[in-house]
Subunit: 289 residues, 2 copies
């Protein structure tokens, strides 16, 4: 997995504009926001989804980069003073602290555009029409009904008690949709464009996305900032409802374990080609940061 993470770093490094290309400060800040940190969960899931579908690695690399660029953009905007107002991310100063707010705003905007660019500038599957569908999948996953919508629901939820179904709806959009898209876009680079196998991957990805968030909540409640590389205990201080606040920490852990089981079951129809996906659900559920 470490080798794969290094490969992802190289791909991102290559696809981001050089730090000296004009406008240099913006490009430098984009590279700061994307490179040199992060678990790269979404790219790893894209590669694993691609492997399950027999996809060419050079194609999946672009999908992996695109979803990580989107993820990085969402972190940069989420850390801004008008949102979470956070100063620490991946063990370093957040983008608006290292640069300035206006630059951080543009970094996020430009990373979103770059993600779409990366997704269309080379052929990623046999039929161009299928590639258009990949763009649609990403746009839907991160728009007002996906990731950005989840952020809006999160904003509206802060400071009030939400129900478990409300919390789930928020997280499915805020983090689940992009995680789901990562697996599916990887698979779509290969032979899986439709059908039962893709639906199985979809079930896996939905469980993985939700499990990721449940574990995030547990870690936020249970770790220190140095271990996490980001500010710990934030949810409780911001009076946010989480799986831990609603279920208690041991039941939240139990829920994550159940989601892991469901995710693994969804892969029953696959052989060894899905082993990376199986490893990743363990990585998601058993991680310490």
């Amino acid at each position: 997995m470490h080798a794969r993470q290094e490969e992802i770093e190289g791909v991102l490094e290559h696809l981001l504009p050089g730090a000296t290309a004009s406008p240099a400060r913006l490009h430098e800040a984009m590279r700061y926001a994307v490179l040199g940190g992060g678990k790269r969960v979404r790219p790893l899931l894209a590669y694993a989804g691609g492997e399950a579908a027999g996809a060419e690695r050079s194609r999946v690399a672009r999908v992996a980069a695109a979803v990580e660029m989107v993820h990085a953009y969402s972190l940069v905007h989420d850390d801004l003073p008008c949102m979470d107002d956070d100063v620490l991310r991946r063990g370093r100063a957040t983008c608006h602290v290292a640069y300035d707010e206006a630059t951080a705003l543009l970094v996020g905007d430009a990373l979103q555009s770059l993600a779409f660019q990366v997704l269309v500038e080379e052929p990623l599957c046999e039929r161009a029409a299928d590639q258009l569908h990949m763009v649609l999948l990403l746009a839907g996953a991160i728009g007002s009904r996906g990731m950005a919508g989840g952020q809006a629901i999160d904003l509206a939820s802060t400071g009030r008690e939400v129900t478990l179904p409300e919390l789930e709806n928020m997280h499915i959009r805020k983090t689940g949709e992009l995680i789901r898209a990562s697996v599916l876009l990887g698979a779509r680079c290969g032979c899986l464009q439709h059908g039962e196998a893709l639906e199985s991957l979809d079930r896996f990805a939905k469980c993985a996305g939700l499990a990721f968030q449940v574990v995030d909540d547990v870690l936020d409640a249970d770790s220190d900032s140095a271990t996490l590389g980001k500010t710990a205990g934030k949810d409780a201080r911001q009076n946010k409802s989480t799986y831990v606040s609603l279920l208690g920490i041991s039941q939240a852990r139990q829920f994550a374990a159940e989601l892991r089981e469901q995710a693994l079951q969804a892969l029953n129809g696959f052989g060894d080609e899905a082993n990376r996906l199986r490893q990743l659900i363990d990585f998601i559920v058993l991680r310490r940061h």
Copy 2:
């Protein structure tokens, strides 16, 4: 032109999520930012580019909506306190004043995603591979080397004297690239995918984009806020270099007139099918707000 503007309003109204769909506040704010105002210069250029290339109107409608969504997103982010900190836009409160900063940030983010979604969810030209190229054109036009890059250069230029070539470079990116993309994307819905005619449209669009900015500078220096529907005299107060500050107002007007001539010349190879484009360059150069 008024009828066309109303048609554009209808298309945008239809393609934006309903104001009651969850998350309702975000969707309401997105509609506030896009609907009920604006000259719709970019959609008009898209329609005119489509007409010059014999494109189906229903296809061009999506391009027109996509470029206007991008434009609206850029205004919402540009008006934020960390950028221009403006309270008036299209004669109304800016999005972050009418809603709040966090919502305005997400409005811009989600509008960008929606623009890409609108561009891929229906076939817009004969070959899917050409449509992928349309997505690439838009992504390049608005990313770190296009619109967002122009904003970054603008930020870096504020408070210092820039040269005329620097100013031109900034504006080509900040406003020119999206205007150019509007014309070309419209044309690409029709029979023009490559070749000399498309290059002529490209020359037209480049002149139109620059003329638009020169006239903007003249109007900012020469009009009141009520006429403009946005804060007037802002450039001088922010100590920004403009075509007016560098050339003087009468030479700036002269420059706009020359760009109009060049734009019209670029259309020499076209017949009546380019009349809308000819009208639009007049609209751009002779407008009062």
